[in-house]
Amino acid sequence: MSADTQSHEHHIVPVRTYFATLIALMVLMGLTVGVYFIDLPGLGGFLTGTVVNQTVALIIAIIKALLVIMIFMGVKWSTPLTKLWVAAGFVTFSLMFFILVDYGTRREYEPVPAWDKAGESATPRGFPPGSQSVPSNNINLRPRG
């Protein structure tokens, strides 16, 4: 395994491939800016016009990124290990977006009657309810700046 010799020397990409990729990237650049000035119609419900525009812009960006990754960075001709790493990186990157599910699924909590009796619950244990006030401790509450 350590001596496998699939070396980069075996494949030298011609300049015209790179140049063609550059032209493609420029065209996509133009498309990105162009789409900005067009207000695409929404598809109903959650997919408002804004979402459609943004999705289209992101798709164009992803295509540009794929061109850079595959051709400029040479992943198209690289070892399977490199391809695996690239994939793993972007999979974990998207995994982080699972965080957004939290914000999307928060709901209003039902009121809990027992928690409304603030005065009682603020009394330390062992003392009659309402007999002690919680001492205020402002040591660490100075806002900075």
């Binding site: 525009n53 812009a57 990124a65 400029f72």
Partner: protein, 238 residues
């Protein structure tokens, strides 16, 4: 156990060329460096990724305010910068190509072109930043309290300045971090160009160091490919 005879008594590495002592062959060394560089780039993906996540969250929460705040950004400057970086990626990949063909002069020319384009990028960035500072759009205690800054087509839109501050916090954070990566890239590119100019065997005999720098540079370009539409080309809420 049969063994490959290989003495551990090594003469100095530069007599053997660029092969380091821990590797058995130049192919193994090259592949190791490429895998190592990609592993590093994966860490950079996660590094910027958290910022993209933060941006996505706040953008989803405050769509209108982010849209109004972003209109102060100059799309022509951003577009120009994107084109500059794309061309610099092209010159970088040409440098790697010529390094594979061992054409030193072409490599050096393309490396310096890449550096020059990166410099142009930073200059444009400087003008962008100063225009923000002039309007007190720098997040912090001195952030503008004046909504008129966001005047567009003659009328001042409704905007929550707190959320605008978050947008600019993210803008400066993300583009600033990207700019730091560009500066580091320029330094590395300059060092590489110098090594080519001095005929250092480490880079002239083996194209992989040049390719590694190229990978890093393309990554920097990749980040900008996403930053530009997300920050400068926000679709209007409709």
């Amino acid at each position: 156990m049969a063994a490959i005879t290989h003495t551990s008594d090594h003469s100095h590495d530069d007599h053997h060329g660029p092969l380091h002592h821990q590797f058995e062959s130049i192919e193994q060394q090259n592949e190791s460096y490429i895998v190592g560089m990609w592993t590093f780039l994966v860490t950079e993906v996660m590094f910027f990724g958290a910022l993209f996540l933060t941006y996505t969250l706040y953008r989803a929460m405050y769509q209108h305010d982010f849209f109004v705040a972003h209109e102060h950004l100059s799309i022509p400057m951003g577009a120009f910068n994107t084109i500059v970086l794309l061309i610099s990626s092209f010159t970088m990949v040409l440098a790697v190509h010529f390094a594979q063909l061992k054409r030193a002069r072409a490599v050096i020319a393309n490396l310096w072109l890449t550096i020059a384009l990166a410099g142009v990028f930073l200059v444009v960035k400087y003008f962008e930043y100063t225009s923000k500072f002039a309007d007190n759009l720098y997040p912090g205690p001195s952030f503008t309290a004046n909504k008129a800054v966001f005047e567009h087509n003659g009328h001042v839109p409704e905007i929550d300045l707190n959320h605008a501050q978050i947008f600019y916090g993210l803008y400066f954070g993300m583009t600033g971090l990207h700019a730091v990566h560009i500066i580091v890239g320029i330094l590395v590119l300059a060092a590489l160009a110098r090594m080519w100019m001095k005929g250092n065997r480490l880079v002239t005999e083996d194209f992989v160091p040049t390719e590694l720098v190229g990978l890093y540079w393309h990554f920097v370009d990749l980040v900008w490919i996403f930053l530009f539409p997300l920050m400068y080309l926000m679709p209007k809420p409709h």
